[in-house]
Symmetry: C2
Subunit: 332 residues, 2 copies
DNA sequence: TAAAAATACTCCATAGGTATTTTAT
DNA sequence: ATAAAATACCTATGGAGTATTTTTA
């Protein structure tokens, strides 16, 4: 599996093509911006290494041999491939003008992507995003392997040694059945103590949100029911059916709380929450671009829509949309 | 229509491919038989000129970026094209293993090709001959333009300044109707004087054989009939029909003299004749090969089959087949 | 004689080598 | 501490320049 260096150069092929086009060493040299002897020498060397006479020369004219014609044809093909490569690389100079594979966890994906994807399309028209939905552990593994370029997930999970940019703080809310007394008392946030002796429904193993919710609930004397939901949507349906209560990320509320029979209640400070962030491999060459991308997602992030949202500073005022000029991005 | 020199080298592409294959600069350098710094430098330069980071490096491993993967893919294509070119050129090293376009005049072609073509196929299995039939003037023009590589014709014609190798001396014979007294007296050759006052039929203008026959006949007091044949075959039919007499190249005799009603008679020395030769452009790079080709045709050339052929030295004895080793060919 | 390509030579850019340092785990 | 890539520095190959000669129509 060893490879010898190529015996000829692209430059030599260019010279050969130029001679075939102009039928003159002098004119070809002119077109290539080199002296005639330089071109002569390179062609002589090419003929030497190939062991084939490429052009018949006499003072009157230059005539490509059969081998020369063939070589010129193939040279054009090779040079074209090289040009394509150059053009493609040039296109890739702007990391936000190619294909970007981004992982997203299932507790973010259905709620954020419908908003973030169009925003990214608008902000970076040249960018094609490929979204990969999977659990944190899988995404981290795929990120490390280079199968994806970045991932949207919660920093609270085990994500290894990666760089990141925060997108949003996503507080958890308590979701109960409409007639559950736990969901009342909207004048104050729910407290940990309220959860005592509650029947709590949680996501299936492997979902990082399960771990985060569980970590919070562990401080109270809660009973986790045996049922494990595979999605927040399922979880909400169970709660609405009166099987118990659950925690929801605020992000999911606009979508999931519209269901009949469900009531959501924010927690009193310090409210449990997760930090949604875009993460990438340390030393990724497109770190700057990814940071810009995170900013764009942050700016598109939905404003909280919990019942007391009007009492809080509107998201738009807290974070005015900023110019996403890559030149102003902080260095990694 | 000016072209700038290519900003990168095939060597750099090879290095990139090697790194992508081995995922290690060290191993890639090893595979390319260069030192690791040399490979590093070349790749750094490639990245510099393309303006794109191709590989993420850290001491633990090397990971191609999206742009790097794309480049490697395209590099393989470009390198493949270059390899193809190299292979094709190598195949073309042997001039007798490609396509060779050879012109032939109409007074040679139908009589010599059925013998020469199979002989060449046997002698040079790799050679593909493309035969181009036309009159001398056209062939000479096409030869000069490079449209054909060589031509089989008579040296007596106007063929310009070309190199050649003799294939055979082709004496003319007198063709008469069977009962024409001119065709008798087979104990001695026909003399110029015999043609006095004969009605002679000749080929159409443009055929070099017409000019050669005419030049001979001009010494006698012959009448050229108004009829002009477009081929020797037609001419022979006219003679057999009793319209007059004509000259034929011996080469055509085995084919044409089989016709009923025709008699051929050799001329007494000095017999008129033409010299069949293979000609090519001066300075043709495949002169040596063409000379070999001419020798092969000469060796396959049919032995004279005139009535007194048995009295002469057999062709096989005169010219024993020789090894057609290109190394022994006389230089141009 | 005139044109075009080939030679002769000189120079410098650069690919490549060795030794060493930096870097990140 | 280690393994790998980057850096520093030197060398030598060879590509390109100018001036000149050779070639052939």
């Amino acid at each position: 599996m060893s490879s010898a260096p190529h015996p000829f150069s692209l430059r030599q092929l260019q010279y050969a093509v130029a001679v075939a086009d102009t039928l003159s060493f002098r004119k070809a040299a002119e077109r290539c911006h080199v002296s005639q002897p330089a071109l002569s020498a390179q062609l002589a060397q090419l003929e030497e290494t190939l062991g084939v006479r490429l052009f018949e020369r006499d003072p009157r004219r230059v005539l490509p041999t059969e081998a020369g014609k063939d070589l010129v044809l193939r040279s054009r093909a090779a040079l074209h491939a090289a040009d394509e490569l150059l053009a493609s690389a040039h296109r890739a100079r702007d990391p936000l003008s190619g294909r970007l594979r981004i992982g997203v966890i299932p507790t973010i994906s259905p709620y954020l992507l419908p908003i973030a994807a169009p925003a990214l399309r608008a902000a970076f028209p040249q960018l094609v995003t490929v979204w990969v939905e999977d659990k944190t552990e899988v995404l981290v593994e795929r990120l490390g392997a280079g199968a994806i370029d970045a991932a949207l997930l919660a920093l609270e999970a085990e994500i290894g040694d990666v760089d990141h940019e925060r997108v949003a703080e996503d507080p958890f809310v308590l979701a109960t059945r409409k007639d559950d007394p736990l969901g009342e008392a909207s004048d104050r946030g729910a407290a940990l103590a309220d959860l005592a002796d509650a029947d709590v429904l949680l996501l299936d193993d492997g979902h990082c949100f399960r771990d985060q919710a569980l970590a919070f609930c562990a401080k109270a004397n809660v009973r986790e029911l045996e049922f494990r939901a595979t999605s927040l949507s399922t979880l909400v349906q169970m709660v609405a059916a009166g099987s118990g209560v659950t925690l929801l990320p605020s992000l999911a509320v606009p979508t999931e709380a519209g269901r009949a029979g469900l009531r959501v209640r924010p927690f009193a400070a310090p409210a449990p929450s997760r930090t949604i962030a875009l993460v990438w491999r340390k030393r990724s060459p497109i770190a700057g671009a990814l940071r810009d991308l995170a900013h764009a997602i942050r700016d598109a992030y939905p404003r909280p829509s919990t019942p007391d949202a009007s009492a809080r500073t509107p998201a738009a005022a807290r974070r005015p949309p900023r110019a996403r000029d890559r030149a102003t991005a902080r260095p990694a």
